[in-house]
Symmetry: C2
Subunit: 171 residues, 2 copies
C-alpha cells in the first residue's frame, strides 16, 4: 500500500558506461542531506540497473518533464538496455563521472555511491551529488518554475500526473 | 541544490505519545520496500521530532491535502509542540502504536523504527509500516484519485503546488 504516499515524482536513473548502459524510471528517490548533498534511491536487485550501479559505483539522476513521458514509460516498463532503441533519449557526457546524463532532461545530477544497504526486497543506494547541470529556464534562481515545466509524477503503475501552474505562497 | 528534485510531495510526521507529542512536515520521505512495507525519512537532529522518534522508536506518516495547507505551513515553519495550538489538527489514536495519527489527513501510516543511520547532516529513519488507515474516497481501489484530492508538494521553502486532475494513462 505504498500508493498511500502517491502521486510521487518519477525520475530517470542512468547507469553504466561505454556500451553497457541503462536507463530506468525510479519514484523511490529523495535527498538525504544538504551538506554534503546526498541522495538515496531504492532499486530492486532484479533490475539490470542494480548490477550496473553495483559495478560502477556511480549513477546519474535525470529529471524528466511531461515532454518526455513516452520515453519515461518505455524505460520504466521494460527491462534491459534494448529498450533504449525505442526511445528518443540522447546521452550526453557527464562532467565528473563516466555515466552519461540525458540531454532532454531538465537536470542531470552526477552521483558517486557512498553507501549501499538492503532493506526488504529493495537495495538502498546512497549517492553523493558531486556535480549537476540544469536548464536555467526551468530552474531560475535555483528553484523549479512550475509555470515553465510540468514535472512528472506517478499516481499508479500506468498513470501519470503533473503539477498545476498555480503556486500557493505562504509566509 | 536539492531543489533540482522539486516539486516534492510533503507529508506530516507525528511523533511522541501522551502529552509529549509533535508534528513536523517532511519532504524527504519515500517507500524503501514493498514486502515488507518499509519507508525511509530523513530528519535533522536539530528537530524535536528527531528526539521523540529516537526515544519512542515509532512515528506516524500523515498524508495532507490542500485543505490542510495552513496547518502544514505552521508545523513546517515552527519548531516544538507549542505550534500545535495554532493549528486545527486533531489527534486520533493509532491502532498498533502509541503515537497518534491526524484525523484530517487522507491517510495515516503507523511505523515502527527498524533502523537509524546518519547521512551527512540528517538522520535516516527506516520504519516498517505495521498498520495504516485511509480515506477510501480519496484512495479507491488502493490508489490515489487525483480528482478527489489535491496532494501537496513543496516547490520551494514557502511555495506549494498541487497535482492537476488530468491523468496521462499509458500502456
Amino acid at each position: 500500500m505504498y500508493y498511500l504516499l502517491y502521486p510521487k515524482r518519477t525520475y530517470l536513473i542512468v547507469s553504466g558506461k561505454g556500451n553497457k548502459r541503462n536507463v530506468m524510471a525510479a519514484d523511490w528517490l529523495m535527498p538525504l542531506s544538504d551538506k554534503p548533498f546526498l541522495v538515496g534511491v531504492a532499486i530492486s536487485p532484479k533490475n539490470f540497473s542494480y548490477q550496473l550501479i553495483s559495478e560502477n559505483k556511480e549513477f546519474v539522476i535525470s529529471v524528466p518533464t511531461l515532454e518526455m513521458l513516452d520515453d519515461v514509460w518505455i524505460v520504466g516498463r521494460n527491462h534491459g538496455p534494448e529498450k533504449l532503441k525505442e526511445t528518443k533519449l540522447t546521452f550526453v557526457p557527464s562532467v565528473k563521472i563516466e555515466t552519461p546524463g540525458i540531454k532532454e532532461a531538465a537536470a542531470n545530477l552526477e552521483c558517486k555511491v557512498i553507501d549501499t544497504k538492503k532493506y526488504g526486497n529493495y537495495t538502498f543506494f546512497v549517492g553523493e551529488v558531486i556535480h549537476y547541470t540544469y536548464n536555467k529556464e526551468i530552474f531560475p534562481n535555483n528553484r523549479p518554475d512550475v509555470k515553465k515545466a510540468k514535472f512528472l509524477a506517478h499516481s499508479s503503475w500506468a498513470e501519470f500526473v503533473v503539477n498545476e501552474e498555480k503556486i500557493y505562497r505562504k509566509g
